[in-house]
């Protein structure tokens, strides 16, 4: 096998912060090369350099032995590099064909040549087992199908090196298997794949070689067959991981959150999901995990429970209080702690200091303020205490939230939302984008509150997280709950099928092994 791509000593500095420090990497023809690292290790920066989105401050890129300068994605595409981003770059109301030919010339200018394009797409997708209908509108496609459209798009443009950025984070387990089959077909045909991930199982499953990054530096490149998950984990994190969360067995207590027949309308956006009559309940000492592929109504459910969206029908009660008429503030008053889906957009005021953010939910209550004047000595005292208790770093109350790392931003939110021992915790994607250490911290914190007697509604698209924390698992699909299972006895494959919208009665009966 020849070498397709060589990255040599690539360096990239942002505002004095070294994102890539002399990273070298080579990709052979016909190989699947995994790029492994935690969030913030520099994987995406490196790939954005390769795709022409950033310019390296040092080092060089060689394609088929030739030194190249990639100053834009267009350059990269011309040189046969295709990228499938984590967030797809598709225009939802357009058809697959229209999306794929976007930005390309047409032989019948000024008219579009949709028919011959559609034909070519059909034959490409058939050739690689991609199953893409060129005439479908993108917004009617499942996430897995949209991802296949992105792959066809790259193929259509003549890519022979595919970069996939965390491609499995939006897929059900079965869709992941499908994607892996496609990737194997691609390399069988002589293409090469760079597979960016932070999941060790996937690396072991699919890759030929692995390159591990940590803190912007290259740790090593190894043959997958000659390594193990343990070794990779050690390289990725830089220390032995004792990632074990002890969940003690507890008997659930009284019901804290009761949702029945909940309906939420969607703002009139296309391709969005409304809730159509869902019911669930969460008790003290219990974690109810809501599994599901993103965009199936989880945002709406969490929004309705915390009082951001008013339901059109149905009832939500928290410890017996009906929340229908309550604003967000009213729900907070019922002693509810919320960990929002998007900590940048919802969780924090970026231009506020740590102290200012810590009081956001109760700045009007004495002694935090008296007669409309903020009580700074008291606020400083509170901030000092919480910064210590939650180990927020750097421990400077006057630091702006936007200057903090993701993990510490999340700790700040935890400190604000959990320090008053809420009866109900609504946690949405609580560890998104966090490294192993911060994730571990947040799991432990949530489980401590479970032990204390909080009821926890956990909404996450990470199945591993759901299985680690939940006592019961509910699966959401298109605004409905398709099934609720005890976590102890839940079967990963069944949960996966539910996530894909296959109802229990449609699922094949599996033989039970005694």
């Amino acid at each position: 096998m020849g070498t397709l791509l060589q990255l040599e000593n690539i360096t990239k500095v942002f505002d004095g912060l070294v994102a890539n420090d002399r990273i070298s990497l080579d990709v052979r023809e016909g190989e699947i090369h995994a790029l492994l690292g935690e969030n913030g290790a520099g994987k995406t920066t490196l790939m954005n350099i390769l795709y022409g989105l950033y310019h390296p401050d040092g080092g060089r890129i060689r394609l088929r032995g030739e030194t190249v300068r990639l100053s834009s994605p267009k350059d990269a595409i011309m040189k046969g590099i295709g990228m499938v981003h984590q967030h797809f770059m598709l225009i939802p109301p357009l058809t697959v064909t229209e999306n794929i030919i976007l930005g390309l010339g047409s032989l019948r200018r000024p008219l579009l040549d949709l028919d011959s394009a559609a034909e070519k797409i059909s034959s490409l997708s058939a050739g690689y087992g991609l199953d893409v209908d060129p005439r479908a509108e993108v917004c009617n496609l499942s996430v897995g199908a949209q991802q296949r459209v992105e792959i066809v798009k790259a193929l259509y443009r003549g890519a022979d090196l595919f970069i996939l950025d965390e491609p499995t984070s939006v897929l059900t387990p079965q869709e992941v298997d499908g994607l892996f089959n496609v990737l194997r077909r691609l390399v069988d045909e002589g293409h090469s794949v760079i597979f960016i991930t932070h999941k060790l199982d996937e690396v072991m499953d699919i890759s030929d070689r692995v390159t591990v990054l940590r803190d912007g530096r290259l740790v090593a490149t190894v043959n997958t067959a000659e390594t193990s998950k343990q070794e990779l984990a050690r390289m990725m994190v830089g220390r032995e991981i004792v990632f074990r969360v002890d969940k003690e067995a507890l008997t659930p207590g009284e019901t804290v959150l009761e949702v029945s027949g909940l309906q939420v309308d969607m703002e009139d956006e296309r391709c969005s999901v409304a809730l159509q009559g869902m019911s669930l309940s969460v008790r003290r000492h219990e974690v109810l995990g809501i599994a599901g592929v993103g965009g199936n109504g989880q945002t709406e459910l969490a929004g309705a429970v915390v009082g951001l969206f008013a339901p059109v029908a149905g009832k939500i009660t928290i410890l017996g209080h009906d929340t229908a008429e309550r604003s967000t503030k009213g729900v907070i008053k019922l002693n509810v702690g919320r960990i929002p889906e998007d900590r940048q957009a919802q969780g924090l005021v970026p231009d506020f200091t740590i102290s200012e953010n810590l009081i956001a939910t109760r700045y009007t209550e004495p002694p935090l303020s008296r007669r409309s004047f903020l009580n700074f000595p008291f606020i400083a005292e509170l901030a000092k205490g919480l910064i210590g208790e939650y180990d927020i770093r750097p421990p400077q109350p006057a630091l702006l939230a936007k200057q903090m790392s993701g993990g510490n931003q999340q700790k700040l939110i935890l400190a604000r939302e959990l320090h008053r021992e809420p009866d109900l915790i609504v946690a949405v994607q609580p560890t998104r984008g966090l490294d192993v250490g911060a994730t571990e911290y947040i799991y432990k914190e949530l489980l401590n509150h479970r032990a204390r007697g909080a009821a926890i509604l956990l909404i996450s698209t990470e199945l591993e997280e759901i299985f680690t924390l939940s006592d019961r698992i509910a699966v959401m699909f298109r605004g409905e709950i398709l099934g609720i299972r005890d976590a102890e006895s839940a079967d990963l494959e069944e949960i996966g099928l539910l996530m894909a919208g296959v109802r229990p009665e449609q699922q094949p009966l599996r033989e039970m092994t005694p």
Binding site: V13, G16, E267, E269, T299, V306, L308, S327, T328, K329, I332, R338, P340, E341, D342, A345, Q346, G347, L348, V349, P350, D351, F352, E356, A360, T361, Y363, T364, S369, S372, F373, L374
Partner: protein, 359 residues
């Protein structure tokens, strides 16, 4: 190491952008002044002399500083809530109208009652004119940039209408009101420079804006909404109320700018009495980094510029049009050097906010 050094040097150069802009504008202006047949060095000497060189010059500078400071504070206050108030000119006229009407109607009241009442009326008049676009924005997401501009026209043409009608002087000659009762005038506090009480009030307003924004729960809400409305709402902060209130106070400060001008300088209400203080307030606020201290300094700078150019016209015979061109040039360069990055940040935030929730 080298990279570090050059980066630091670059950031210093960038931080001083307003200084470079002023120097650049003066250079370009010098060229234009030379084209007009006047020695630029003489002209600039006359400008400095006219703005700060004599008591009467300094007085003129401070006189112009007063409405500029109120207006700058008004723009800055709304800006802290993420709102861009371009309707200062209309708010200023409406404030002056309500204040002027009150003064004429209750002309018999003694000064200690009448003056405060007129000032409060001006604040309310401007405030309502600002609160309307604030409500439209907060509730129905109509761009306050557009609505405030449009409401300018309604505002000053309405004032013009009243001065051609019900409020017109009894002579019925000019579109202006009767002389306002002396009890409503802002008294002169420094006779030699003819500086009136408005200067003190404007400085108090600057202090007040600081206290409200950074010491009270209301200011906390306003800044939270200005920085990230979604996060503020998620924390239970009333965003709509905060935005309307911010625009009310912003418009109210504009109203005081109008009041200061009619009660302190012109002593009557006339149509189109403001030479654009409402718009200049934007430049003042942005140059002052929307912080009350910075705004106060910027107001003196622009006040001096206005007074200085008056002087060049008088002493050097610079044509009025040319004076306005050079002044406008200075304004554009200074404002763009400071404001473009900040405005871009504000607009980006707006974009993000309207795109929010899709993910």
């Amino acid at each position: 190491m080298r990279r570090n050094w050059s980066e630091r040097a670059l950031s210093v150069v960038l931080a001083l952008a307003p200084v470079w802009a002023v120097l650049g504008a003066l250079l370009l202006g010098a060229f234009l002044i030379a084209v007009a047949g006047i020695n630029p060095v003489d002209a600039y000497a006359a400008l400095l002399e006219g703005a700060f060189g004599s008591l009467s010059g300094l007085g003129l500078t401070l006189q112009k500083t007063v409405p500029l400071l109120f207006a700058g504070l008004g723009v800055a206050f709304a800006f802290r809530c993420g709102l861009f108030n371009i309707g200062g000119e209309g708010q200023l006229h409406m404030g002056a109208l309500l204040g002027g009407w009150l003064a004429l109607t209750f002309a018999g009241l003694p000064a200690p009652v009448l003056l405060p009442a007129v000032l409060i009326a001006s604040f309310i008049g401007g405030g309502i004119w600002g609160a309307i676009p604030g409500l439209l924005r907060a509730k129905w997401n109509m761009s306050e940039i557009i609505t405030t501009i449009l409401m300018n026209y309604i505002g000053f043409w309405f004032v013009s209408f009243t001065l051609h009608g019900p409020l017109q002087e009894s002579r019925g000659y000019y579109p202006q009101s009767e002389i306002l009762p002396g009890a409503s005038w802002l008294p002169i506090i420094w006779p030699a420079a003819r500086v009136h009480l408005g200067l003190v009030l404007a400085l108090l307003a600057a202090a007040g804006v600081y206290v409200v924004l950074w010491r009270t729960t209301i200011g906390y809400q306003i800044r939270a909404v200005g920085s990230n409305r979604r996060a503020a709402e998620y924390s239970g902060i009333p965003a709509v109320r905060s935005m309307v209130l911010a625009m009310f106070v912003s418009g109210g400060l504009m109203g005081l700018a109008g009041a200061a001008e009619i009660l302190g300088v012109q002593h009557r209400l006339s149509d189109f009495f403001s030479p654009g203080y409402g718009f200049d307030g934007i430049a003042v606020a942005l140059l002052g980094y929307t912080h009350p201290v910075g705004v106060a300094l910027a107001a003196v700078f622009f006040g001096g510029l206005r007074a200085g150019f008056n002087a060049i016209q008088r002493t050097e015979g610079l044509p009025l049009a040319m004076a306005q061109v050079v002044q406008g040039l200075t304004l554009i360069l200074v404002v763009s050097s400071v404001a473009l990055p900040r405005l871009r940040a504000l607009l980006r935030r707006k974009e993000a906010a309207s795109a929010g929730g899709v993910d």
